[in-house]
């Protein structure tokens, strides 16, 4: 994984003025349809998620509560194009602590899923998706390391039936998502 890119630049609150034309009233329903996003409207903005979020503690701009509010309000473009979305580490602390049982981290994941469909996919996911399609695993393990297993007495690494995985990539529609390629929105 690349460890060099930084995502601290664009704070969600950067443009303070909201235009009515920026609001997509149906967005919340789109989120609710994705498993994990169902309870988005139950969030009453108490801020427990942000207060307990280890990432928020070290970020100037990542605030899960704010992401939830923007999504509730229908600020679709703003939410989906935000770099902040990708800073959730899925530690699930917010899921355990939410008094409204919103599953904040799952709602954020649902928002990422929509962002990907709209063409915003960080390169790391494209790369891992490609590796799973090619090898069955999220990383392409070099031949040398596979041979090393035998040298040190480990059993050979089982090989996945790639044809079977390709069928599932195709059937779920994920193949199209990673093939979408270098659209204007795809982040590098």
């Amino acid at each position: 994984m690349s460890e060099t890119t930084q995502t601290q630049s664009k704070a969600p609150e950067a443009n303070a003025t909201l235009r009515i034309s920026d609001i997509d009233m149906q967005f919340k329903n789109e989120v609710k349809k994705i498993p994990g996003g169902e309870r988005i409207m139950m969030c009453f903005q108490c801020g427990t998620c942000t207060a307990d979020c280890p990432i928020a503690r070290f970020s100037d701009s990542y605030r899960p509560r704010q992401i939830l509010r923007m999504a509730q309000l229908g600020l679709k473009e703003k939410v989906l194009s935000s770099d902040q979305l990708w800073l959730c580490a899925a530690c699930y602390t917010c899921v355990d602590h939410c008094p409204q049982d919103v599953e904040i981290s799952s709602v954020i994941r649902a928002l990422k899923n929509i962002a990907v469909r709209e063409g915003y996919m960080p390169y790391a996911f494209k790369e891992m998706g490609g590796a799973v399609l090619e090898t069955g695993l999220a990383y392409k393990i070099p031949e040398l390391r596979l041979r090393k297993r035998q040298e040190i007495g480990l059993p050979p690494l089982p090989k996945a039936n790639i044809g079977s995985i390709a069928k599932l990539f195709n059937r779920t529609g994920f193949l199209k998502l990673i093939e979408k390629g270098e659209g204007a929105n795809v982040k590098q």
Binding site: F58, D83, W86, N113, V116, M128, R145, L157, I165
Partner: protein
């Protein structure tokens, strides 16, 4: 189903980067009398792709579960991410007919069907629940009484509680107890249950490295001699990235990071070589000399 025989699900990160975890886990588990069967045809658990697409995550996880069902064996994983994902999806598909039907409609394409006949456990669960503390205690030949260490649990072993249902995420005790079985002292430290930050390393490095550094400093403050992990990603955050953290913050830690089965293995009497301690990035020879 047998509590002594497991399909070993290795996942991706361990065969890619952390053979030391696999080597040491196999050693201790086999010494404890458990039989491990290599899991054929397995694929990525799906978790790394969940942010991109939830459906492919469910499908990849379910494909693994189907393979284990065909083998008629429960799964043991070494990675909490894999364990959490497979456990969560297993529970979801067993309990929710609609989800099961949808995922089965995908799986059908590749000739699989989820039936819901097996269980998934992380190594820690297998040790605590199936082997049990009594048997673990009996296996200790060389109590590590001179060691004081800090634990780092790995989020997905315990959270979210409603999906995982193992240990108490607010006050996790099981890894501590597993450490204490070896004779070593397990120290409490500030923000002990906090995430290491590893999952977002692919999109941002400053935040996760700051998080890991924060934890390192809290462990150092209580004079921990080593960190004990049960997760490949947490391990890489503290071990592989420790030199980077030291450079970034101009600090020195030099804190060895051991996979739990390495610690247990030392207490069982295995040599550091047998447990692949030399593969660790931070030198552990001073620690080994204390034993």
């Amino acid at each position: 189903m047998s509590n002594n025989k497991y399909l070993l699900y290795l996942g991706c990160a361990i065969p890619y980067r952390l053979l030391s975890y696999e080597i040491s886990a196999r050693k201790v588990v086999e010494k404890l009398g458990l039989e491990l069967v290599e899991m054929p045809d397995y694929n990525c658990c799906g978790l790394p792709l969940d942010p991109a697409d939830h459906e492919i995550m469910l499908t990849l996880a379910a494909r693994n579960l189907c393979i284990a069902e065909q083998k008629g064996l429960n799964i043991m994983t070494l990675c909490p991410g894999c364990a959490g994902t497979l456990r969560k999806v297993n529970k979801l598909l067993k309990e929710d007919k609609h989800e099961r039907e949808r995922v089965n409609s995908y799986l059908k394409e590749a000739g699989f069907e989820f039936k819901g006949t097996i269980e998934v456990k992380h190594l820690m669960q297998v040790l605590a629940e199936d082997v049990g503390f009594e048997r673990l205690k009996e296996s200790v030949k060389r109590p590590l009484v001179n060691l004081s260490v800090a634990e780092h649990n790995g989020c997905h072993v315990v959270r979210p509680q409603k999906h995982i249902g193992f240990d108490d995420p607010e006050n996790p005790r099981i890894l501590k107890s597993l450490i204490e079985v070896t004779g070593a002292k397990c120290l409490d430290y500030l923000d002990e249950t906090e995430c290491c930050g590893a999952p977002i390393v692919g999109v941002n490095d400053r935040i996760p490295l700051s998080l890991a550094r924060d934890k390192l400093s809290h462990m150092k403050a209580v004079s921990a001699q080593a960190i004990i992990t049960v997760c490949p990603f947490c391990h890489m955050m503290f071990d592989t990235n420790q030199a980077r953290i030291e450079r970034m913050f101009n600090e020195t830690y030099g804190m060895p990071v051991l996979h739990y089965p390495q610690l247990l293995g030392l207490a069982m009497g295995f040599s550091p070589g047998e447990l692949a301690l030399k593969d660790l990035r931070v030198d552990s020879s001073k620690l080994v000399n204390l034993i």
